[in-house]
Point group: C2
Chain length 132, copies 2
Amino acid sequence: MQKEHNLSKNQKIIFDLIDKSGGPMKAYSILFNVQKKGIKAPLQVYRALDKLVEIGKIHKIESRNAFIACQNSSCQISKATAFSICESCENVSEISNSKLSKYLSNFSDNSGMKYSKYNLEFFGLCKKCKLK
Amino acid sequence: MQKEHNLSKNQKIIFDLIDKSGGPMKAYSILFNVQKKGIKAPLQVYRALDKLVEIGKIHKIESRNAFIACQNSSCQISKATAFSICESCENVSEISNSKLSKYLSNFSDNSGMKYSKYNLEFFGLCKKCKLK
DNA sequence: CTTATAAATGTTATATTATTACATAACGTT
DNA sequence: AACGTTATGTAATAATATAACATTTATAAG
Ligand SMILES: [Zn+2]
Ligand SMILES: [Zn+2]
Ligand SMILES: [Zn+2]
Ligand SMILES: [Zn+2]
């Protein structure tokens, strides 16, 4: 069962926007879109984003400096994330594959380091863009 | 056999600096360090970095906006990269594990998308930092 | 209800990371 | 030499992110 996180006002505004957009959004594009709702400064956006990432409602696409709503209801914490990214249209989707996540969560190398978190980004051309 | 890339003057200065540092370096820290060698503007650094990434001599650590020399002689192109990152001391090392790279290079999900590239970042505490 | 504490907000300024635009120079090939 | 490609130099600016400080709101304990 998911822990219920009661989002604050700004967090809710920003989460709803990202969620409805259906794709990755950049911080300043978010800012532009929420100015009519009274969120006027970058820091207000970044604070909400930080919290939303922390509780796993959104994830950061590091290679794009963008944020996307979690598409995987089981991801309460952003500690094991994988994405597929189209290098042509920039479409992003979250990969939900239990074999992959099991493989990566259990991965260990000879460094003796135990990993508590990972982020994986795959790149290629999506179906649509391959046809063009 | 590795293709020999004849680095240009700026590319060589910047690669040597990153390589000698032994760890990840940020663009503006690189800039600061090469000013005595006549590289005075951010763009000169970014252009060299772009080229070095393209030919696989360095990789970008996306979550840190930093660049590290390739520690894996076989990586001519940055198309399959994996790193372990200590969240305490920020030490980074490139993971060279043939099983992992084989697994990820062959990975495909039900999206029908064929991936040509990936980047994986693992996070945790390195041995030293675990003891503290 | 009151007090204490933590979490969130508002605001201004600033730091950090990266690119655009344009002009010039060096290199590699024929 | 002439050509196309790659690299360089320089100035300006865009895009991304954080510091510092004051205030308010939510949560929980007594
Ligand atoms: Zn998720
Ligand atoms: Zn596409
Ligand atoms: Zn490498
Ligand atoms: Zn460490």
